[in-house]
């Protein structure tokens, strides 16, 4: 029997068939269908199996709240689990797979779980699977993990792209139903910039389906006119397929736009994440209908009454041909009328209310439909679909029940406003006895940076239930928000009447006195298989807070995050505790409203542009010359340059040997360079560095150490005095921004009356270290300035020209060799580098990377920030007392270094270490002390801080921190290896190469 009705379907195009597959079965739908409506049209009753019991499940809803119809969509690089069939627009070639059934939906082997359902009440897994201990990890857990969840993980890398947009608006209005449109219209007229977003592909929301009339015409007319008007307003931006996802502090909001989900082959990004700053946010997010709790309410064919109406009106699809309506309110009578108008049968309306006398009910009766009041569904009959219901009295235990044959059930338990966005940033709720729902409490709204209310609700989201009230409320919200954003706005709502409806009657269990057998078949959370009996058990066992109940039963923790189950569940909990619902309260609503793709959150930042890349002027040269990269902050530095056939180790050793023997060039551009200038610059640097910088003479350089206020070494580098008022401070590569910030901190927040200015010129200068015995010769080949020992002595600097390029040369050495560090305007650095190389050919010049740099400094016993220091090391530990001024009253860190733990003679101190056999000590190894400490850990007396094979010395060298180390020269101590073995090493001076410093000072 076809479920597509002969006519109707305001959203589908009957002339445009669309082919798709479900579980590899070919099916046909219409343009404008959702996957859900197309499946229903094809008579696909079962669309999934439930999580725990593998019960057959059908489509329950028509919107994002759908808990059952989650499918695996697409294939390969476009496969995606857990797509809601109800919000998936149908396109040609769509392929969907059901998720939790094996071998098939119709026959699922795991459905045997249902037989054991009574063994699997809430939290059963906390009470069992305890013994034997090893079984959890190896047997129980793998089985449970395999059984849990339903979506399959994607196997291939996503081929789509994503992007971020930023928007700054006066008003963000979320929800494009009549409330959102009305709010936008009112606010738009004030001149405020408005962004109106709607999650679906269509405007107008439920009103056209519900037969609302506005300004005396069908709602659709008003909707279209309003859209036209809004379209002409330059200050109003409209987006469909764009969901308000989250509201954060200070007016920050996320909107999630699905650009090509409905047309995967289209050009451009798949999703766009809008990061919006709004002065005011209006949530016109409508309401979600609640299911009713009766036994078998989860069978395929039981559907929300509003969803039944949606499928008939929007898509011309009949979920069933004979539909029983069960309700506690008037709205479901609209479904009855819709079905009758479509020529479908409604055998009975089952209404829990004792008396119903409202226009809607009278109209249904007038059409010849039996209305049973004070009645309830005792249970639904059927195995894989609805075959009938048992009718009973609403109070009592249900008794035997009277059968009514039907193939579908439309249920309505009342409506809950969508309060998620209101709640994300702290908006509070209040309970309405009249409508048995929580709605936003305008007196406890989310507040923004100024303490002002910044989220307002409009329409049903406020709890306003009739069309007229909705429009009034929405217009008022739009006007209030516009005024709060600084505009003059007046509320002017479209005219509409509120339908006359009889009061609803909250009912949480059907029938009221249902016995456990029925209660254990009443589903609250359909996807997680949480039943009325589970929540009652949680209360019985003392999990009384709503948060505990949720966590114990998993109520509301599935993909729909409780959109359907929340109120029903806490009503059951309140009933069990004998408390009022508002006292029990709700769980916290967290962003996002509906799940959003990780791809969209990551945005464009993938692969090479994952993070910004800082490049030195020589970057491309490195790339072309075999650089093996090392990330250093956002920089990338060559670790070494591999020549064809060379391993990394071989390359490093060659670079060291060549440099020591003749000539090496290092791109030192990443080194931090800070200009510190002003009459108080010397005084300032005296505070920042442990040694005295104010006594440095212009033209000279001095190595300096910086500590934090805890006394720990934080950075080091060479300071050059440029003139009386000006210093150039070098920092480590990773430290430039941090140290610049540090200097600014002290200058702005502590010594703000000192006359000093700091500029970070790191990227303005390229810097090239020319290193090795032939360094001077190669500079002389280029010519332009006197680089002799007399003109430019060790630890001096000079301005001049090299091969026509303006340079500043520092005679400093981090390798122990004759060394010139040449600073050059960044734009000319590459050219100079090339010239140096050309001139260096005759000396066999090599470029060297960071590892050769490290080895050469270690051979010289120079410390490296981050190697010898780790944030707990003070300069005194490193034997750097010579760089700590005794004459200064104060420097940053001095007071801290006077604390008892810092002055202890037992602190580990820097030494050199040599293995007895010349091998390389394992980096990071600890020196063994005697015995264990009170916690059973081996006592240690030191550790290796750097360890290399020295090509210069042909053996392993290491530096380390050892207790009483400098007093123990020549002693052999043992280091632990990770395999439990030990290795011996002799304590030696940390300076392995050229201890008298003759080579650098030539």
């Amino acid at each position: 029997m076809s479920h597509r009705l002969p006519q109707g379907g305001r959203l589908v195009n009957r002339d445009a068939p669309v082919g798709f597959t479900f579980d590899s079965k070919r099916m046909q739908g219409l343009e404008g269908d959702t996957l859900a409506s197309a499946l229903l049209a094809n008579g696909q009753g079962i669309v999934n199996r439930s999580y725990k019991y593998h019960r057959p499940r059908g489509i329950l809803a028509s919107g994002p709240e759908e808990p059952n119809a989650l499918v695996g969509l697409g294939q390969g690089k476009r496969f995606e689990p857990d797509q809601r069939a109800t919000t998936t627009e149908l396109f040609d070639g769509l392929s969907a797979m059901s998720q939790n059934a094996w071998p098939s939906l119709g026959f699922d082997a795991m459905a045997v779980n249902q037989w054991f359902a009574s063994m699997m009440p809430a939290g059963f897994y906390y009470k069992t699977f305890i013994w034997p201990r090893s079984f959890w990890m190896h047997i129980y857990e793998p089985v449970i993990r395999e059984a849990a969840a339903s979506g399959l993980p994607p196997k291939e890398e996503d081929c789509d792209t994503y992007e971020h947009f930023h928007a700054f608006v006066d008003l963000l209005i979320v929800g494009g139903g009549i409330a959102g449109l009305q709010a936008a219209l009112t606010a738009g007229k004030s001149g405020a910039t408005v962004m109106l977003v709607e999650q679906a592909a269509h405007w107008g929301g439920r009103a056209p389906v519900d037969g609302a009339e506005i300004e005396g015409q069908p709602a659709e007319v008003w909707i279209n006119e309003t859209l036209q008007t809004l379209g002409t307003m330059k200050n109003v931006r409209l987006r469909t397929r764009c969901m308000g996802a989250g509201v954060y502090d200070h007016g920050y909001a996320l909107a999630y736009e699905r650009l090509t989900d409905h047309a995967p082959e289209a050009e451009g990004p798949r999703h766009r994440l809008w990061k919006i700053r709004a002065r005011q946010i209006v949530t016109a997010t409508g309401a979600i209908e609640r299911p009713l709790s009766f036994a078998g309410n989860d069978l395929p064919g039981v559907m929300l009454a509003s969803a039944v109406r949606d499928y008939v009106v929007n898509f011309g699809v009949a979920p069933g041909h004979r539909t029983v309506i069960v309700t506690n309110n008037d709205d479901a009578y609209r479904t009855a009328l819709t079905l009758i108008d479509a020529g479908l049968e409604v055998p009975v309306v089952i209404d829990v209310r004792d008396r119903v006398n409202s226009p809607l009910a009278r109209e249904v009766s007038r059409r010849g439909v039996a209305v049973e009041t004070g009645a309830a569904v005792m249970k639904v009959k059927g195995k894989k679909g609805v075959e009938g219901v048992m009718l009973c009295r609403a109070n009592g235990t249900g008794g035997a029940g009277a059968p009514v044959e039907c193939d579908s059930v439309a249920m309505s338990g009342g409506w809950s406003p969508v309060v998620h966005l209101w709640s994300h940033c702290g908006g509070k709720l209040t309970w309405s006895d009249e409508n048995a729902h929580f709605h936003p409490d305008p007196n406890r709204a989310p507040t923004g940076a100024e303490g002002e209310v910044f989220v307002r609700t409009a329409g049903i989201a406020s709890g306003a239930m009739g069309t007229g009230s909705v429009l009034q409320d929405a217009s008022a919200a739009g006007a209030a928000a516009a005024r709060a954003a600084g505009f003059t706005a007046k509320s002017a709502a479209a005219r509409a009447a509120d339908a006359e409806e009889a009061p609803m009657k909250p009912v949480w269990v059907m029938p009221e006195q249902a016995l456990p057998e029925l209660r254990s078949k009443m589903f609250l959370d359909f996807q997680n298989d949480v039943k009325v009996s589970d929540v009652q058990l949680a209360a019985q066992e003392g999990y009384e807070s709503v948060e505990l109940t949720k966590r114990y039963t998993t109520l509301g923790m599935a993909n729909d995050q409780g959109k359907l189950s929340n109120i029903n569940g806490l009503a059951i909990l309140a009933g069990s505790l004998g408390a009022e619902i508002p006292q029990v309260g709700t769980t916290t609503f967290r962003p996002p409203y509906q799940p959003i793709s990780f791809g969209s959150i990551a945005g464009e930042a993938r692969g090479e542009i994952f993070q910004p890349l800082r490049r030195t002027p020589m970057h491309e040269w490195h790339e072309a010359n075999g650089a093996y990269w090392e990330p250093v902050g956002h920089w990338r530095r060559p670790y070494c340059y591999q020549q064809p056939g060379e391993t990394i180790e071989q390359a490093v050793q060659r670079e060291v040997r060549t440099t020591r023997a003749s000539l090496g060039l290092l791109d030192a551009s990443t080194l931090g360079k800070l200009v510190v200038k002003g009459p108080d610059a010397g005084r300032f640097l005296d505070m920042l560095y442990t040694n005295k910088m104010s006594t440095l003479k212009p033209g000279r350089c001095r190595y300096g150490l910086m500590c934090n206020e805890n006394g720990f070494l934080s950075d080091d580098g060479v300071v050059a005095r440029i003139d009386e008022d000006t210093f150039l401070c070098h920092t480590t590569s990773g430290g430039a921004d941090r140290i610049h910030g540090w200097m600014e901190d002290w200058l702005q927040c502590e010594w703000w009356d000192w006359k000093v200015y700091v500029a970070n010129v790191t990227e303005q200068c390229g810097q090239i270290a020319v290193v090795g015995p032939n360094a001077r010769k190669v500079l002389e080949r280029l010519g332009g300035m006197d680089v002799s020992r007399q003109a430019l002595p060790f630890m001096g600097w000079a301005d001049g020209e090299l091969a026509g390029t303006p340079v500043r040369i520092y005679r400093i050495s981090f390798s122990g060799e004759l060394s010139y560090e040449i600073a050059v305007p960044a734009g000319r650095a590459r050219a100079l580098w090339d010239k140096l190389f050309a001139a260096g050919v005759e000396f066999g010049a090599t470029a060297y990377g960071t590892e050769a740099l490290h080895i050469m400094r270690a051979e010289k016993g120079f410390i490296m920030i981050g190697d010898e220091t780790d944030g707990t090391v003070i300069p005194q530990d490193l034997g750097l007392d010579w760089a700590i001024s005794k004459k200064k009253d104060d420097y940053l860190g001095k007071r801290a270094q006077q604390r008892s733990f810092m002055t202890s003679p037992d602190r580990w101190k820097l030494v050199g270490l040599e293995t007895l056999d010349g091998s390389v000590l394992p980096d990071g190894a600890y020196a063994l002390g005697e015995g264990d400490n009170a916690n059973g850990q081996r006592n240690t007396i030191g550790r290796v801080t750097s360890s290399y094979h020295s090509p210069t010395l042909g053996r392993g060298i290491a530096m380390g921190l050892v207790k009483h180390g400098p007093d123990r020269m020549g002693e052999v101590i043992r280091f632990g290896k990770t395999d439990g073995g030990t290795i011996e090493a002799k304590i030696v001076s940390p300076v392995f190469y050229d201890p008298d410093g003759e080579k650098q000072d030539v």
């Binding site: 496969f79 959890w136 948060e547 114990y552 250093v632 990071g924 916690n935 395999d979």
Partner: protein, 415 residues
């Protein structure tokens, strides 16, 4: 207290589970207790549990202003590991991890401790050296870890991309017996066991003042009246500063928001925990199938239990880069917890200036993994009045002396 077992469930199934008792008793406070523990989170309950189990002290009330386990115990990413660098940290976290191994059997409540392994990725050479150092330290501390190469990383976590263009994986510190547990169940299991020993767990009971006489605590005032005690243990994480204020002392603590998020659940695709500190993200898969992701902490004081989206963005970006297959998964829920950060980012288990009053706080981002060890050490401190070896280094006095326990010195900063 009736034992939980499969047989008990089968028996109850026959009568529709109407025979289950409360997991913990509910009652109004007595006038006096030997020990009052403020805070019924994991740490507070564990303190009470080990006071009872190890020292036979059962005249205990655990006071909770909200609901049991409602703070960070139920808001974290459930990672359990002990591959710390510094001896005091490694000792207490390893004690904790080993207690987790037998937790379910000890308290007869399945907390699903799953020693599935923790991988901490090294993506810079600096990190490689840092983790090699940690591996050396762990070998001497009795913590089983190993530095593994990128191929082994790929073997352990097939969904990882080890060849990312910006931060290729150079290796990892692997702790095979690290893992995860079901966080709520840890609190519930302890609560049930404490109740079984006769202790009172009193929820919705907010402490509004600390009473003392001559520099020694005498009791607390609460929203459920005055309660006297001989000893007081303050174990309230993010609210420690607030409680310390009532007790008349200050703490080196700042409270900030730390964020976490989960994806929609999917079938198993990742069997261990992966932490990537260079790019700031970590991820595991819960038994329910959600990818559980930890994000960054705000750098400013914040009590709102929500945080800024840019941290989520940074974390997810890092993880999409590390695990490209998650791009088409969806974030289902994000939330924040308030963590208490000390001056050296290590915890405080200490005597206080007020006599017979003890504090346990400052676990920062490392709270969940330390619950049993922290409770064990705190119980010893409360029972004996002096710290045992596990707590000895975590005293408040260390800040004055400059005796830091700084874990950020290893490459891995996040907990």
């Amino acid at each position: 207290m009736r034992r939980y077992s499969a047989f008990a469930i089968a028996r109850e199934a026959l009568r529709h589970h109407t025979g289950w008792n409360r997991a913990w008793r509910s009652r109004d406070p007595k006038k006096h207790y030997k020990v009052i523990v403020i805070g019924a989170g994991g740490h507070g309950l564990a303190t009470a549990y080990y006071l009872g189990k190890n020292y036979g002290i059962r005249d205990i009330a655990v006071l909770e202003k909200g609901w049991l386990g409602g703070g960070n115990t139920g808001r974290n990413t459930t990672i359990i590991r002990s591959n710390y660098l510094q001896d005091p940290s490694a000792a207490i976290y390893e004690k904790s991890r080993s207690l987790y191994e037998t937790f379910s059997q000890d308290v007869n409540y399945n907390a699903m401790f799953s020693p599935r392994g923790v991988l901490m990725l090294a993506q810079t050479h600096h990190e490689v050296r840092g983790y090699q150092r940690t591996a050396h330290a762990n070998a001497l501390q009795g913590v089983e870890t190993e530095f593994v190469g990128p191929e082994r990383v790929k073997e352990i976590v097939p969904i990882i991309n080890i060849d990312g263009p910006r931060y290729p994986v150079l290796g990892a510190l692997w702790q095979p017996r690290g893992g995860t547990a079901r966080h709520d169940a840890v609190a519930w299991g302890y609560a049930r066991a404490c109740s079984g020993m006769g202790m009172d767990i009193i929820q919705k009971c907010e402490v509004t003042g600390v009473r003392s006489d001559g520099g020694t605590v005498t009791g607390v005032t609460t929203t459920k009246g005055d309660i006297a005690c001989d000893k007081l243990a303050i174990v309230v994480a993010g609210h420690s500063g607030h409680l310390a204020g009532m007790a008349g002392f200050r703490l080196p603590i700042e409270s900030v928001a730390l964020q976490a998020l989960v994806s929609e659940p999917i079938k198993p695709c990742m069997d261990c925990v992966v932490m990537a500190n260079t790019v700031h993200g970590y991820m595991s898969q819960s038994d329910k199938g959600e990818m559980v992701i930890g994000g960054g902490a705000d750098g400013y004081n914040n009590y709102t239990q929500r945080g800024s989206f840019h941290h989520v963005e940074e974390t997810v970006r890092a993880l999409v880069e590390t695990f490209p297959m998650i791009s088409r998964l969806k974030m289902m829920r994000q939330w924040g917890g308030i963590v208490d950060m000390t001056g050296d980012r290590s915890p405080i288990i200490s005597k206080t200036p007020l006599g017979n009053t003890f504090i346990n706080c400052g676990w920062g981002t490392g709270g969940f993994k330390s619950i049993p060890g922290s409770g064990w050490a705190m119980a010893e401190l409360v029972a004996k009045g002096e710290p045992g070896p596990l707590a000895a280094e975590f005293g408040l006095d260390r800040f004055r002396e400059g005796r830091f326990i700084d874990e950020s010195v290893a490459a891995g900063v996040a907990h």
